[in-house]
């Protein structure tokens, strides 16, 4: 029952999700999202490691893209890709969600196109003591109990309403971490 509802919400998101192919994530590539009304695609900095990347839409169309902003500390990159005309995914602030709220990730784990994994929100904020690694404990993260794999990086983490609340970035101690949407908005806003 729940599976079909989740797939319904995810299906609306899939046209906004792309694959980013530049060989950075070995074999699987990463994901990206057409971000709100910005006209840009957002992904992880560790996915779009080069200035020029290839962007592949869910319907198979490809385009050249170029990285127009990057924040390696936040593991974010903003990509401009002309000609794809992707529908921008609606975004929302994860801070209004409570722990236990349903979330789902769309990405290409191990190269499987547009795979969906579902789970619940654990927390929004700094990592608990004992989790922090490589200085990443100082940032706010969307922390979720949802299974991610290589290939989910840069893809959306969305809530039950289908709003993108973060950009999936990494797994720490089994916990899925995503960059909160407001932090993404802040970087996107620097590009004009």
């Amino acid at each position: 029952m729940m599976a079909s509802f989740v797939s319904g919400a995810a299906a609306r998101l899939i046209p906004s999700v792309v694959a980013i192919v530049d060989g950075a994530e070995r074999g699987s590539g990463g994901a990206g999202i057409a971000w709100g009304a910005s006209g840009f695609i957002v992904t992880n900095a560790h996915v779009a490691t080069h200035r020029d990347v290839t962007v592949m839409a869910a319907d198979g169309r490809r385009a050249r893209g170029s990285v127009v902003a990057r924040d390696a500390r936040r593991d974010l990159a903003v990509v401009r890709a002309g000609g794809l005309e992707l529908p921008g995914a609606p975004t929302g602030d994860p801070a209004r969600l409570r722990p236990g709220a349903l979330v789902f990730a769309v990405g290409h784990p191990f190269g499987v196109q547009d795979a969906i994994s579902a789970g619940v929100l654990q927390a929004v904020g700094r990592l608990p003591r004992g989790f922090a690694v490589n200085g990443r404990g100082t940032h706010a993260w969307v922390q979720a109990d949802v299974r991610l794999a290589p290939g989910n990086s840069g893809g959306p983490l969305a809530d039950a309403a289908g709003l993108v609340i973060g950009v999936a970035a990494m797994i720490v101690g089994g916990l899925a971490l995503a960059v909160p949407a407001p932090d993404v908005d802040a970087l996107v806003a620097t590009v004009t």
Partner: protein, 305 residues
């Protein structure tokens, strides 16, 4: 917005409500280095957590849902069921809403909850993967019901509750009882252990002080004694109930209270629960004949718990 989507949002809200409801009784337990574990306010002034996460006997603190820290004292621990009991000042937070885990079935949606600090509770989500009757975990404790789920117990989730989709507590999650699956010590077992820890600070277990192994008789003995086999006594501790009853190394226990023995578990089951001081009527194969004996069940020394 489609019906599908509003249903999904309603389910999402219901799960978040469940987390908030049970989360109001959730504390962080500071009784080990680095990461705290989770505890649940089981009765007023009484917090349950997992035994393995309480690494010290004093200087224990808990963080309440309002973020304040308060000191806690260790009431007792039971390694067998991986439960420990702490006492805090009464009236500080609501008592957890308890459910009936006997009604859980594979496929039911469940959440594991944790509190790692003074902020909101944390949640992991999954489904019940297996249920069953009584079982004995490798730590030796009797667990009244098997409740296994597919959810991930993240660091710090040990000692936290398994709750259903309405926020009712079904038991306490232990990461140490059967990795990698989350095992839940069901409400009934927790209540039993809480009662004993509050009464005497430890869980009393029956003991006769003998080591034994199952044997099968040869055909001639089977015919002569009309018994298939039993438990062969390999050693008897001095001053133990078995010694007082006159049991001898080499005796084979063939029946307990008139019931033929097939497995050592039958004897273990008779020694479980509130049995100390009661008697076992044994039939023993000794020197080719059957003799009877009565053993008064003692209390297992606490050093062997």
């Amino acid at each position: 917005m489609s019906d599908e989507q509003s249903t999904l949002i309603a389910l999402s809200d219901q799960l978040a409500d469940a987390v908030a409801k049970a989360g109001a009784s959730l504390v962080a337990v500071h009784a080990r280095p680095r990461l705290p574990s989770t505890g649940l306010h089981w009765r007023d002034g009484v917090v349950v957590t997992t035994e393995a996460t309480v690494r010290r006997d004093s200087d224990i603190e808990v963080t309440l849902p309002d973020g304040s820290r308060t000191s806690a004292t260790l009431v007792g621990r039971d390694r067998g069921t991986d439960l420990a009991l702490l006492r805090i000042a009464p009236g500080r937070l609501p008592v957890a809403p308890l459910g009936d885990p006997a009604r859980l079935q594979p496929g039911h949606l469940v959440l594991a909850l944790a509190r790692l600090d003074g902020t909101a509770p944390r949640a992991a989500f999954g489904a019940v993967s297996a249920t069953g009757g009584r079982w004995r975990c490798w730590k030796g404790g009797e667990i009244d019901l098997l409740v296994q789920s597919d959810l991930s117990l993240y660091p710090g989730f040990g000692g936290g509750p398994l709750v259903d989709a309405s926020g009712r507590v079904q038991g306490i999650n232990s990461g140490g009882l059967s990795r990698p699956l989350a095992t839940t010590i069901p409400v009934g077992t927790v209540n039993r252990v809480v009662e004993q820890l509050l009464q005497r600070g430890y869980v009393s277990r029956g003991w006769i002080g003998a080591a034994m192994q199952p044997v099968r008789f040869d055909a001639a003995t089977r015919t002569r004694l009309q018994r298939d086999g039993g438990l062969l006594l390999l050693s008897i501790e001095p001053d133990a109930p078995a010694a007082h009853a006159g049991l001898l190394v080499g005796d084979v226990i063939v029946t307990i209270d008139g019931v033929p023995l097939d497995t050592p578990d039958q004897l273990r089951d008779r020694l479980a629960g509130d049995v100390v001081g009661s008697s076992l009527k044994l039939e023993l194969a000794r020197g080719g004949t059957i003799v009877t004996s009565e053993v008064r069940i003692g209390e297992r020394p606490r050093s062997r718990q």
